[in-house]
């Protein structure tokens, strides 16, 4: 894999909890990745547009509002419609275990990181998955 891994860190929906997103964005940057943070209150359309424009390898979606089962599948579908389904989709936040399973098995989400995941877990996962 030549060049830096490019990651869009995104906050979808109306959720204003950005503590995690900012920590992840900074940790990924410190790990040598190119990080684009969308800022808050993004629609799925805006996130997918950013991912495509930025030629991202991965999109990290931070969501703590409970709206993940509506917003995440929408982002995945839009990526597919735009022929950008090679972009890895990662989700972080408060996602109950059965929802996480469904996001991975039915919607092609690459990984879901819950509370307590370390920034190292996420960096290592991305490095492994993007290189593969």
């Amino acid at each position: 894999m030549a060049g830096k891994i490019r990651v869009v860190v995104a906050k979808p929906g109306l959720d204003g909890h950005d503590r995690g997103a900012k920590i992840i964005a900074r940790a990924l940057r410190d790990a040598g990745m190119e990080v684009i943070y969308t800022g808050l209150h993004q629609t799925p359309e805006q996130i997918v547009e950013t991912a495509i424009q930025e030629d991202a390898d991965a999109v990290g979606i931070s969501i703590l509002s409970g709206a993940h089962m509506t917003l995440v599948p929408r982002i995945v579908d839009l990526l597919r419609e735009n022929e950008a389904d090679d972009v890895l989709v990662l989700v972080g936040g408060t996602v109950p275990a059965d929802d996480a399973d469904e996001l991975k098995s039915k919607h092609g989400v690459a990984a879901v990181f819950g509370p307590g995941a370390t920034t190292t877990d996420i960096v290592d996962f991305l490095k492994g998955a993007v290189a593969a």
């Binding site: 860190v9 929906g13 109306l14 950005d18 503590r19 808050l40 709206a67 408060t94 307590g116």
Partner: protein, 548 residues
Amino acid sequence: MATTEGTGTDRWREERYEATPERQGELFSTISGVENEPLYTEDNVEPGELGFPGAYPFTRGVYPSMYRGRLWTMRQFAGFGTAAETNARFRYLLEHGQTGLSTAFDMPTLMGYDSDHPRSLGEVGREGVAIDSLDDMLTLFDGIPLGEVSTSMTINSPAAMLLAFYACVGERQGVPVAALRGTVQTDILKEYIAQKEWIFPPEPSMRLVVDMIEWCAREMPLMHPVSISGYHIREAGSTAAQELAFTLADGFAYVEACLERGLDVDDFAPRLSFFFNAHLDFFEEIAKYRAARRIWATRMKEKYGAKNPRSWLMRFHTQTAGVSLTAQQPEVNLIRTAIEALAAVLGGTQSLHTNSFDEALALPTEHAVRLALRTQQVIAHETGVVNTIDPLGGSFYVEHMTNELERQAYEYFERIEKLGGVIPAIEENFFQREIAEASFRYQHEVEQQQRVVVGVNRYKLEDEPPIEILKIDPALERKQVERVQAIRARRDSAAVDAALARLREDAAHEGRNLMEPIMEASRAFVTMGEMCDALREVWGVWRETPVF
């Protein structure tokens, strides 16, 4: 101060303390990174400045009798689904001995969108109750006599609309508006700083806050129109000193905005209230509350010239730290919450919310909420900590920490002033950067094992047993969308148009208080989203430049 070389403390340190090695690995600083000495003695504290409870500058408590006169209000924050579900939860809590109501609104309500707005999709009733119009508010308080309870509403950008809805429910129950009691959060400054649920730019938002303060002082004197909140600042990752400093700076900004409007400080200051976090670092938290009271009293008297002693009192609500809860071994959260709640009580809080142990996973179940409430009841009735006022006053450590946090707060006030005040500092991302820096430092310390989080980076369980969590039925969103559409269909549309036209017109003119037009619109069943849209047209919306 009696610090001369060769004091007993220094000798003790050299001869005895340093003779044995310290534990390695974990930090000895507070969770906020404030250094701790191994021991505090009279060498660390100026003698004779303690003061008394109920006496200026109120370090030891705002009331002379504190919990011997009256216990704190046990106020559990609740809200989910539609108004009917939350009404049932309210009644449940009142039946179990809760003494005040506290309403959590869902994200669309916080952001000023009706439930059928495209941006509300998937978010209706998820993190709080969905309230679109007076119709929902009537359901929310159905069977709850507003003359007998006090109600807190956690709402900021659309606070004026929710206050108006509440007043209208009172009117319909036959309770005079002047008899309604409670608190509306209304603290928009901390939204820009930390919680990020905003609609309009800072200037018109501040106007709306001052409109509410002015209107409540006249019409609704038992309501606290603003609850100046450090809670969300702390949850966003700030230190205790930042929580203290930024919250008080926000408080002073509201005072200054009201003075600019021409209000008399003693007409509104007694109704300003505060809301703090109770985090895990026990003594640091207690010191934070003590410092907060002292700074507020001093500035209100000395800087803003308040003469009514009630204007000097910092009364505050406290909530235990949501951010300290873990998804791993969630029952352990009961212990964390109990310790945090104890700090709030020893710090002299006027009301308290204890988090439920399952809240790192989802909104709490009834069982979890009852245990949280029981935690407060045990502290109040079984531990004996309520029998003596400010029992930690005079502790060398607590007094030192109180002074230290006070010092750090004044340092921040100077920096904020140099940036031109709170709003320019927000526009420059000053607060946001300071908080991001602190939260990153803490995360790093946890990942380096310099801070232990039980069950997360030490004492882990291989297999976490599943626990039962509250699920919000997705059908509720559809039900709520139907409700708001039904109300639009059956109301008098001419009255709606007239009310919205008046609101737009008044918003476009500085110097017109918007509470009356918002009351009129509420009575006509104009929705919260429609009112916010009208104001968006006139004022525009706020966008943050994202930094990390």
